[in-house]
Symmetry: C2
Subunit: 157 residues, 2 copies
């Protein structure tokens, strides 16, 4: 598969070999930048993205949840949850309670302090979400979601 000089020069100008690669790398890079920005916001409140996600899941649920229930709603693998809960507990944003009926299960519950922190973050987070796609029109935002959901179908096969 010999590459001519012209093609090499074109490749040099456009680092992407295919539109698919371009889309995937665009996606990963954009995600990195967004995560970075959220990390900065959360850092100002002394928590991390993952810790925020755990708190948010607990608030959405409205009641204590087992660790696996939390893990099921996150992308991460199960063992990572333990450390996350450890650090959240150390900051008194959640508490662990052993289930009485099934002593294998550990319920995690958000504390008033955790709820308060979340409430403080609600507006800034919503604003940042809007800002991250602020260059897109409303139809474009929905189109982006649609394309991402469609792309993700390969994972559910």
């Amino acid at each position: 598969m010999a590459e001519g000089r012209l093609q090499r020069e074109l490749n040099r100008r456009n680092p992407f070999e295919t539109p698919e690669q371009e889309a995937v790398l665009n996606l990963l890079r954009t995600g990195d930048l967004i995560l970075n920005r959220f990390g900065r916001l959360f850092g100002e409140h002394n928590i991390t993205d993952s810790q925020y996600n755990v708190l948010k899941i607990l608030r959405d649920e409205g009641q204590p949840m087992p660790s696996l229930g939390i893990a099921g709603r996150m992308v991460q693998v199960v063992p990572a949850i333990t450390g996350l809960i450890d650090r959240l507990e150390a900051k008194e944003l959640v508490v662990r309670r052993r289930c009485v009926q099934d002593r294998r299960v550990v319920y995690v519950e958000i504390t008033p302090l955790g709820t308060k922190l979340l409430a403080e973050l609600d507006q800034p987070v919503l604003a940042l979400h809007k800002q991250m796609v602020g260059k897109l029109s409303q139809p474009e935002v929905k189109q982006l979601s649609r394309l991402l959901e469609k792309a993700r179908e390969v994972f559910s096969q």
Copy 2:
């Protein structure tokens, strides 16, 4: 409007608060899943995403690069590069060479073994890129790139 797919996937009980939030979370989740898949591919060859990226950058450059030069092309921060190079060097995929003119600078060079590994990965990586957006038509793939690039404009202001 019916419940979004992401919402169902995450088994949430409350809908997203805004389309912007939905798009951003869709983006982050899709990126995570894709990274995961690439991680598995690279893992089969005993390297990681980041290590692959370093090797790719070195091959693209075509000549030894200083650490800062490598860092400049990655999203990561400088200190992370040191460990990356350490592990790549341990696997004999790159070598370090101290610059003679400026002894602060360390040049990193890809070895024949590193080049060979990259060559083995070229086809699988390209195939995986295609597969990751395999549910999208060609125009949709380009549309996705366009939307992501447009969204990213907020970062360059």
